[in-house]
Every structure is written in C-alpha cells, then in structure tokens.
Symmetry: C2
Amino acid sequence: MIQIEIDFNSDDALYLQLYNQIIMGIAADRFREGDSLPSVRQLADSIGINMHTVNKAYTILKQEGYVRVDRRRGAVIAIDVDKMQTLAELKKQLQVILAKGSCKNISKDEIHQLIEEIYEDYS
Amino acid sequence: MIQIEIDFNSDDALYLQLYNQIIMGIAADRFREGDSLPSVRQLADSIGINMHTVNKAYTILKQEGYVRVDRRRGAVIAIDVDKMQTLAELKKQLQVILAKGSCKNISKDEIHQLIEEIYEDYS
DNA sequence: TCCTTGTTATATACATATTATAACAAAGCC
DNA sequence: GGCTTTGTTATAATATGTATATAACAAGGA
C-alpha cells in the first residue's frame, strides 16, 4: 500500500501534490526502481479524487523521466537521468528560493545548513 | 527606471514572474531598502500588461513582507524579517527540489556547489 | 484645483484544474 | 472463451485562477 497525504486546503493543485510526494517518496527510498505504483483508478479511489487527476500526475512523471509505463505492471519507477538538464532546471528554481532567503537575511551558510538538515531527514 | 523581463510564453503566470523578479532584484541589490517601485499604472504601462496584474504582484509582496505601501511614495522596498517562518517555508520548497535532484543522481555535494555558483553570480 | 497615488468593485474572457462518463485495445485470470 | 483490469483517449460540465477593461473613491502632491 502506498502512502500519500493530500491537503485539500492547499494552494497547490491536487495533481502537483501527488507529483511532489511521489518524487519525494522515490528520493526517500520508499519507492524503488522497479516498484509499481498503484493503478490510476486504485490510487484515485483510495485518495478520494478523480482518476484523471492521478493520470495527470503520472503523465508528467513519465514525461520528466521518473516512471515508465508498462502495459502489464502499470506505472513503474524508472529514472531516466539527464544530469545536464536536471542541473539547469534545479538552478532556475534554486535562484528564486535563495533570493527569498537572501531578502530575509538568511545567510549562505544557513542555506548550506538547511541542505544538510534535509539530507539528514532521509535517515 | 526599473528593469523587468516578462516572458509572455512562459508557463509561469505574469504576476508570478513579476513577483519573482522583484525578489531577485532585491537579493541582487538592484532594488534597495527604501527604494520606491514604479506605481502599478506606470509599471503596467511600461511592460504592456494590465494594472491589476501588477497590483496582484505588489499585494503578495506586501503580504509576504517584501514591500510596504506608502500613500505618498507608492510601493517601497521594506523587508520584514521573520527568520523562523522564512526558514520553514524555504525548507518545504527545498525538500521538493532536492528530491528531484536526488532522483536524478545529483549528489549532495553537487547541490552545495550549485548554491555556491548561484551566490557567485551575485557579483 | 488638478493630477497621481493606492485601493476597491464589477464584468468579461480565457486558461487551467477537477470531475463525470464513456469507450477502446492489450494483458491477466479463471 | 469470457471476464476483469490495465493504460489511454475523448468529450462534456463545472469550478477556480489568470488577465484585461472600466470605473470609482479618498488621500496626498504640485
């Protein structure tokens, strides 16, 4: 059984919350290369949302190379590594976040520290 | 004169691009504490978008403590530092980004390196 | 007085998000 | 072979979010 927490009061769209949590689940090694995710219908039922909302999350995960879709086994975790592109995208997103921190007097060291903290939470 | 680059083909909403660029402008010291931003009407005209779109960006910047609105001087850069809350929000956003990197075989060291790279760009 | 300021309100158009049904071929199961 | 479940696609309806167009108001500057 998969564990997904959806906040229906969040500003983030449902499909985005799903997308984010699956990626964080892979990073935290709760889902592993080769694992199957529940079918779009199953997961939609268990969360209590529409099939197409789940399908949208799965489709984006596929496009961005986190899962591969197998006719027999459904959505299977399968990472397609494109390091250059990933680094470029991460940089863009980090620039905005670091700027927010910088405005609020958060030092570079505190950011590094925050990174360490997040990695420690993986244990 | 303020320098804002809007990409009308971006997936990001116009007000969000504006919001991000003003924050990045403050972080890069192009806008400083006490500086006035253009009026909503002026900026809207110079970019070629609607007044309310600019107003939305300004309103969020105000809510999040990046500017203060002075009846005489318009939107003035004025940072309201709430370090605890800022750190909590940054952490949430970083968790998702780092998870993406982790899935794509980007090491912790490479993240630290990316942070350094972004800070170096401020010079 | 006149103009500009931020602010608020209303209306419209368009895009995105979410749900509801429905249908299809491919694969697994009995 | 029949039945179910799979991913996938299509269409429609609704709700929400984004952007624009006008308009009006009080407060402050020139």
